[in-house]
C-alpha cells in the first residue's frame, strides 16, 4: 500500500541548532515533493519544492534533499529560532493524470526552545 511517513510527530530542539525532519514514502513515484509549514488554525504555507531530478534545494535557512532511490526527503532548518515552531508537512505530487494532486504526510511538530 502507499504510505508517506514523517519520522516523528514532534521534535524539540534548542534555538540556534539545526532541525532535521524526515519524510519517507513507499509505492509512489512522485514527480516532485513539497514542504509546507502549518500553524495552528491556519492553512499550509508553501516553503520549498524539489523535483525528482534535483538532489538539493536551498532557500535562506532552509534546505531540502530528495533521494528517489531511498524514497526519502530531508528538510533542514539551520540556526533555528522560536518563530520556526510549527508543524511541517511533506507532500507528494501523486496525480495519475498529471494534474497534480498533493498527498500529505501527517506532519512533524517542531518546537524550538529559547
Amino acid at each position: 500500500s502507499q504510505k508517506i511517513e514523517q519520522n516523528s510527530e514532534a521534535l524539540n530542539i534548542q534555538e540556534g541548532k539545526t532541525a532535521t525532519l524526515t519524510c519517507n514514502y513507499t509505492n509512489y513515484s512522485p514527480a516532485y515533493l513539497q514542504w509546507y509549514r502549518q500553524d495552528p488554525g491556519r492553512g499550509p504555507v508553501f516553503l520549498l519544492l524539489i523535483r525528482e531530478n534535483e538532489k538539493e534545494k536551498r532557500k535562506e535557512r532552509l534546505k531540502v534533499t530528495f533521494d528517489t532511490t531511498l524514497k526519502q526527503s530531508l528538510f533542514h532548518i539551520t540556526a533555528s529560532q522560536p518563530a520556526d515552531s510549527a508543524t511541517y508537512l511533506c507532500a507528494l505530487d501523486t496525480a495519475a493524470s498529471g494534474y497534480s494532486t498533493l498527498t500529505f504526510g501527517k506532519g512533524t511538530m517542531l518546537l524550538v526552545s529559547p
Partner: protein, 113 residues
Amino acid sequence: EPEVTQTPSHQVTQMGQEVILRCVPISNHLYFYWYRQILGQKVEFLVSFYNNEISEKSEIFDDQFSVERPDGSNFTLKIRSTKLEDSAMYFCASRVDREQPQHFGDGTRLSIL
C-alpha cells in the same frame, strides 16, 4: 503578495443542511483545489478543477459534494445534506500552472451539529 482567500472562516450548520464554502483563488492561477483536514489528522485531497471541469477527485468526494466556478473569481464547494463526519477544516488551493506549487487559503472551519 497575492493570497487565496476563503469565507466564512467558521461555519456552523445543522446536520442535513446544505453548505457552500467560498474561495477566491489568486487571480492569474488556472488550477484550483479543495482539501480537508479533520482535527488532528492529515490534509486530504478532495477535488481538482481546471478549465471549468473537475480533473480529479478522491473517494471522499462523493455525490454529496460539488464544485463550481460561477464567475471569473470565485470557486465554491457545496456539501449537500451535511453529516456529522463532514466536520473539518476545508482548504482551497490554487496554482498558476502544473510546474508550480499550490498556495493555500486559511480555510473554513465547518462544524456540523
